[in-house]
Amino acid sequence: MSPDSNRTFFLDGQEIPFREGQSVFDAAMSAGVFIPHLCHNPDYEPHSSCRLCTVIVNGRPFASCTQPAVAGQMVQSDTAELRAMRRTLTQMLFVEGNHYCPSCEKSGSCKLQATAYHLGLQDNHYPQFFPRRELDASHADIILDRDRCILCGLCVRISRDVDRKNVFAMTGRGIHTVIVVDSASGLLKDSRVTVEDEAVQHCPVGAILIKGKAFEVPIGERVYDKEPIAAASVRRFQAREALTHG
């Protein structure tokens, strides 16, 4: 893509080219600028619910994953205020759930953990909630550990829009929100879910896992052992862009 002065905006002072219809997030990532995000997976439609990718556009906060890029707009992302906000949001996600990194098989490949590393979190600041949440290990091949769920809704969206099964949904409000399963018993074993479903393959944390794969990858070779999340996400995004837009 050749930069076109009619199709650029400024991100933290850097001129960023974009294609018509691209979001601020997509244009930034294409240009190699990482914006922290958790509920968004660039392979699927954005949802703008985690607010981690919030940027300031012409003085007002917007979720960059759903904010259309517009020529000439002034965007701020890497500022002390936004870094502090992202740290706070991430700390709140940690204390609201039960995230035992040392015993979690997703550790090292977890986007929540890797994002916390990126943000330099050395503590959770807030009191731990220690919520009691139901574990669903009923299915032969899939486990749903609600302790680790950050309610990004990605499984709900993928199961509905891509797998077309509506296996997952969210119920309850506020701190009582939980992921529920579409089956008479409410258990995964009685639902239509299978390991082939994309919805069970893209959980950013260790809430939905395929059984029998725990600790397959040794420490030191896990996704974010090899490369911090900023570099890994940008590289993956740019490879995907090269495939779809040459």
């Binding site: 035992y100 040392p102 015993s103 550790s107 953990q113 590393y117 503590d123 220690f130 009691r132």
Partner: protein, 180 residues
């Protein structure tokens, strides 16, 4: 030699893994001992801190009244208190018992447990009272700095300590920041 920095350490509801990892700084311990002097610590078996020390490193979370007592002793006697490791910072693995009531935990261990004979819940007055849940340190006292990891690597300990002694904020660089 300039006066050395006084350091106290203890392990509460943890596994001593953080202390072991600290010792993994190996020969750098000799350099460190030029800079610091141990006060109360399992390393020298001194049981209480007399006076005030510069840095207190506390490993492990809080699972019983004795843990709380010792943590408060550290807070009162340490100018700078550091929460070391996953258990101290979040409650860690011991806090997995928070999924269950204390009664359920005691029954599972001492009444219904596999191979239990003469089943009864221990009630010796010498035993410290268990807390309803396992808590991180900052739930009870003010904590000045956090050194994460399970355990923090020897390099993380070294970086953290040397930064602290140099009077800087002990922020871990990306490659030393780990929660597992």
């Amino acid at each position: 030699m300039a006066s050395r920095v006084k350091v106290a350490t203890c392990s509460l509801a943890g596994c001593f893994g953080c202390h072991m990892s600290f010792l993994d700084i190996d020969e750098r311990l000799l350099d460190l001992l030029e800079l610091i002097e141990f006060d109360r610590s399992p390393i020298n078996d001194i049981k209480t801190i007399e006076g005030i020390v510069d840095f207190g490193f506390v490993e492990g979370g809080l699972c019983n009244a004795e843990n709380v007592h010792l943590l408060k002793h550290f807070r009162e006697h340490c100018r700078v208190l550091v929460s070391v490791g996953e258990c101290a910072i979040t409650g860690g693995i011991p806090s997995m018992r928070n999924h269950h009531t204390l009664k359920e935990c005691l029954y599972e261990t001492y009444i219904r447990g596999v191979g239990v004979e003469n089943a009864h819940i221990p009630d010796d007055a010498e035993l410290p009272l268990l807390l309803d849940k396992v808590y991180p340190l900052h739930a009870v006292v003010r904590v000045d700095h956090y050194l994460p990891g399970c355990p923090p690597s020897a390099d993380a300990f070294w970086h953290f300590l040397t930064e602290l002694i140099a009077g800087r904020d002990p922020n871990l660089p990306l490659q030393l920041l780990r929660y597992d």
